[in-house]
């Protein structure tokens, strides 16, 4: 639900990072926060527990500048990955314009990835949204770890529609901007 405000000539787009717990969603946002020019981003807001697990969401506004007279901004959100935080997770999806699914590539997390993907479909459906109609990209994160599934297997389980997918090592920034650029461009195209 991008907001185009013709009064103040602003466009705000909401992009949500989704995926299983400890998959690297917050790490993606932290990397973006540290790497983009400080003048183009706002504060990184994190509603987290004392052990730095996301409790409600992280939020980072990033300013694209003025495009054809419109101040254009992306609002990046993460959701809490843990299964029992579903109520908060669903709230964050309200009005989403684009989704990034951050999968944890480790073999033992395959079931958690699949469960989280099902949960994403279900939560979107409750708002009347269809993931196949929304700008959507996948990041296979943690590719630097030794015990990872191969990408073909992850694709088979998580990406039947073959949306754009990127390999990532979010802690080192690998794939973080590729993923963000891909979803941001899809969102912008959906406005035009």
């Amino acid at each position: 639900m991008s907001m185009i405000n013709y009064a103040s000539r602003e466009i705000n787009c909401k992009i949500v990072y989704y995926g299983p717990g400890l998959g690297g969603k917050t790490t993606n946002l932290e990397y973006i926060y540290n790497k983009v020019a400080p003048s183009t981003r706002g504060k990184l807001i994190s509603l987290a527990t004392e052990t730095e697990r996301t409790l409600f969401f992280d939020f980072l506004p990033v300013d694209l500048g003025t495009i054809r007279g419109f101040k254009t901004r992306f609002h990046l959100y993460t959701v809490p990955g843990q299964v029992y935080y579903n109520a908060s997770r669903k709230l964050i999806l309200k009005g989403v314009d684009g989704v990034v699914f951050v999968a944890d590539s480790q073999i033992e997390r395959l079931d958690a990835n699949i469960e989280s993907m099902h949960n994403l479909y279900e939560n979107l459906a409750e708002y009347g949204y269809d993931l196949r109609q929304i700008p959507f990209v996948i990041q296979y994160n943690k590719r630097d770890l030794p015990n990872v599934s191969n990408v073909e297997e992850l694709e088979r389980h998580l990406n039947p529609d073959r949306v754009p997918a990127y390999e990532g090592v979010a802690t080192k920034g690998v794939g973080v901007f590729d993923t963000l650029k891909a979803v941001a461009k899809l969102v912008i195209k959906s406005l035009g």
Binding site: A37, F57, K181, A184
Partner: protein, 179 residues
């Protein structure tokens, strides 16, 4: 007129090729700001913000806030949504207003037509009782104003973005998001 339009896809939207939208023109905007200005005058509050339920700021009236208004709007929507869920858990349909009291600054939040949230910031120069009464009147006025806006939104064509917007935005994305 175009310069005062406001468009928003509704939550029932997200269908490809033409999501439902609503917009308001100059007269709606003036009417809404008049209601908010009147509220500030009568309640002696400092600032009123309208935020939509997805966490985006729609308008601000009164003292311009010095804080990060994008963060404020996203937290406001989250606050309200979380409290909606709490209400449901205890068998209430909703909490249509929330009050947060600080030592010097306080804020009062009220639902507007289930789509927007009115936030009023005030300090010790007024009282909670007065703010609460005046917000009630303002919410009634805003509900009437937005009922008209939403009522005529269906079927109305949204103005298109200027040609070239997508290409230019894509170039900017490449420039901004690089190592």
């Amino acid at each position: 007129m175009e310069g005062r339009r406001y468009r928003q896809r509704t939550s029932e939207g997200m269908k490809p090729g033409g999501a439902p939208s609503w917009s308001f023109g100059a007269s709606d905007s003036e009417r809404i700001e008049e209601i908010l200005n009147n509220l500030l005058y009568e309640s002696n509050a400092r600032c009123a913000l309208l935020v939509d339920r997805t966490g985006q700021l729609v308008t601000t009236v009164g003292e311009q806030p010095e804080f990060d208004s994008a963060a404020f709007a996203s937290l406001t929507a989250a606050d309200f949504s979380a409290n909606d869920q709490l209400a449901a858990l205890i068998g209430e349909e909703e909490f249509n207003s929330l009050f947060h009291q600080g030592r010097r600054e306080s804020m009062y939040l009220a639902d507007v037509g289930k789509r927007l949230i009115l936030v009023v910031l005030f300090n010790q120069q007024t009282t909670l009782g007065l703010v609460r009464i005046k917000i009630k009147d303002a919410v009634e006025g805003l509900n009437r104003a937005f009922e008209e806006v939403f009522g005529r939104a269906e079927g109305e064509e949204s103005p298109a973005l200027e040609r070239g917007f997508v290409d230019e935005a894509e170039d900017e994305i490449d420039r901004l998001f690089r190592e």
